[in-house]
């Protein structure tokens, strides 16, 4: 029996018309469509459930430098930055130590880091006090707002008011040795200088050249409402700084090594160092001190304590008597 003869015979019985099958199937599809289509539309307009929150400043951290794409961000107008605010700054994260290269260049980078964190051992002959580079450049030269190396590297050569000529990066480092370390600079082709430049270059790998990176230098403070005062600063010092640096500011030595650096006297930076300027010291202190509790002092406290520290005796500026 073919389908057609079965169909015709069924039509004639008047009990079951095969057309009903078509009507039933069609009706079901229609109802399903009425329900399904608006449901799809609702799903499309609803927000995606797993939108990952992106944290500003955390982007690219720990990734290889190639992955960390520098991104231009709007600078938040915090009062601390208003003084030398730039319209835009660029976010950058230095590569992690695990990504340090191997080979001869890797050796230079590693030596640079060793000099930076333990200057007293690895660049002994160039240092005239008890400081290490890392005392002012926290986190082995990585910490933002603590004059990080990766933000300094791409800003040289540059003209500097301090010596009235265009400085290379090497000359800038030499200044640190002469003033902050109260010593003498390694020659530009010495293994120490090559190592420090290599370490800086590697930390800055992937950063745009000649662009102000976010976290460069110390965030300058606005002019204080009260003139910085050493007497008030002494109180701030005793309450917040003496714990580690000692009431006499001479730091804390353990087994021949300084855990906390001396802030004045013969073992500290000399009168030509950037830190001997109240403005710089206040900016550093406010952003970074006490260690791990940056920005916990008020700006006025930072100005006062900087004034107190910088009014203490220290080795003289080696340029004294000469034209600066």
């Amino acid at each position: 029996m073919s389908f057609r003869t079965w169909y015709e015979s069924q039509k004639r019985t008047r009990k079951f018309h095969p057309g009903w099958i078509v009507m039933t199937v069609g009706g079901t599809l229609l109802v399903a469509g009425v329900i399904a289509v608006p449901a799809t539309l609702v799903a499309e307009t609803a927000p995606p459930p797993a939108a990952a929150p992106s944290l500003p400043g955390a982007s690219g951290h720990g990734k290889a430098p190639g992955e960390a794409m520098p991104k231009v961000i709007e600078q938040t107008p915090s009062p601390a930055r208003l003084r030398n605010a730039k319209a835009i700054q660029v976010d950058f994260s230095p590569p992690s130590d695990e990504a340090m290269p191997t080979g001869e260049f890797g050796k230079a980078v590693r030596l640079g880091k060793a000099i930076f964190t333990d200057t007293q051992t690895y660049a002994r002959q160039y240092v005239g006090n008890k400081l290490n580079c890392v005392n002012c450049h926290l986190g082995a030269g990585r910490k933002a707002d603590s004059a990080p190396l990766w933000a300094a590297y791409g800003m040289f050569p540059a003209y500097r008011d301090k010596n009235k000529h265009v400085n290379t990066y090497e000359e800038r480092l030499a200044g640190c040795f002469r003033f902050s370390m109260n010593g003498k600079a390694p020659a530009p082709d010495s293994k120490e200088m090559v190592a420090l430049v290599s370490y800086s270059y590697w930390l800055a790998k992937g950063a745009p050249l000649g662009v102000e990176l976010k976290g460069r230098g110390y965030p300058q403070l606005a002019e204080p409402s009260q003139k910085p005062d050493a007497a008030r600063g002494k109180q701030v010092f005793e309450a917040n700084c003496a714990l580690c640096h000692g009431a006499d500011g001479q730091g804390t030595e353990m087994g021949g090594r300084y855990v906390f650096p001396p802030l004045w006297g013969k073992n500290s930076f000399n009168g030509g160092a950037g830190m001997s300027t109240v403005k710089n010291a206040a900016a550093f202190v406010h952003a970074n001190m006490p260690l791990g509790k940056g920005s916990s002092l008020s700006e006025q406290e930072a100005w006062d304590v900087a004034k107190y520290v910088d009014s203490q005796p220290r080795p003289p500026d080696p340029r004294k008597g000469k034209s600066s």
Partner: protein, 248 residues
């Protein structure tokens, strides 16, 4: 030094005196112990070292307890080395000022601890000082022969202890606690050699403000930036830290 003399001199403790050499005549022991007693009493009485006297009293407290106070060594070990499994800390070689401050903190509740609070409250000020003097005089942690077992967790702990993580304002442990975690008296205790469970508990206590006796809130500021994994890693590392330069 005077401790064995006093022990030897006390009546009823003769058996602790080493056997008399055969060549000594009878009665020599008596003479020797009496002489030692007189010497030690004279020595203490002259007040040549008050700290020494405190240490003696502290040693007695540590080993025998006294006045309803249990012996410290029951939990902190015969040599003050702590008990790793129970998470009882090492006391030997810890700074005197730090130990004293902790006892005071247990008593005044700025360091909450159900075991130590009643003990500390029943100690007199002099007893606290004695115990602190005694444990500070014991030798500190030295890395025993077997170094650590290398693991990813240990490596993470090493990094936190030596470098911290400045992307979240977290300084390195050793920036304040000394080059190898040996401590920087009077404020920063030694961390090296502390049982993992102890360090972990303390970091969590700071995070949850159950311990608030740190100067300037420095430790609280660090602990609140640490994740559970970071706390575990650094506690693991500090149990048996490598010396500087040993890695790399």
């Amino acid at each position: 030094m005077p401790l064995p003399f006093i022990v030897a001199w006390m009546p009823g403790s003769r058996k602790r005196v080493p056997p008399r050499p055969a060549h000594l005549p009878a009665g020599a022991t008596d003479f020797r112990s009496r002489l030692a007693g007189v010497v030690s009493i004279a020595w203490v009485a002259t007040g040549a070292s008050l700290a020494h006297a405190d240490r003696l009293a502290g040693a007695t407290l540590a080993q025998q307890g006294g006045g309803g106070v249990p012996a410290c060594m029951a939990c902190h070990g015969a040599k003050g080395e702590g008990q790793a499994a129970a998470g009882f800390p090492r006391l030997a070689g810890q700074g005197q000022a730090y130990l004293l401050k902790q006892l005071q903190a247990f008593a005044d509740g700025t360091r909450k601890n159900p075991q130590m609070a009643p003990i500390a409250r029943s100690l007199s000020a002099a007893q606290m000082r004695d115990a602190a003097d005694y444990y500070a005089s014991l030798p500190g942690w030295r890395q025993a022969g077997a170094p650590h077992t290398p693991s990813a967790q240990y490596a993470q702990g090493l990094k936190i202890a030596t470098e911290g993580d400045w992307t979240k304002e977290m300084p390195a442990c050793f920036a304040c606690h000394g080059i190898a975690g040996d401590g920087v008296p009077p404020h920063f205790p030694a961390l090296a050699g502390q049982p993992m469970a102890y360090t972990q508990t303390q970091l969590n206590a700071w995070r949850r403000a159950q311990r608030t006796n740190d100067p300037l809130g420095l430790m609280q500021a660090v602990a609140e930036k640490m994740s559970d994994a970071e706390i575990a890693a650094v506690s693991r590392y500090l149990e048996n830290p490598s010396r500087p330069g040993e890695e790399k």
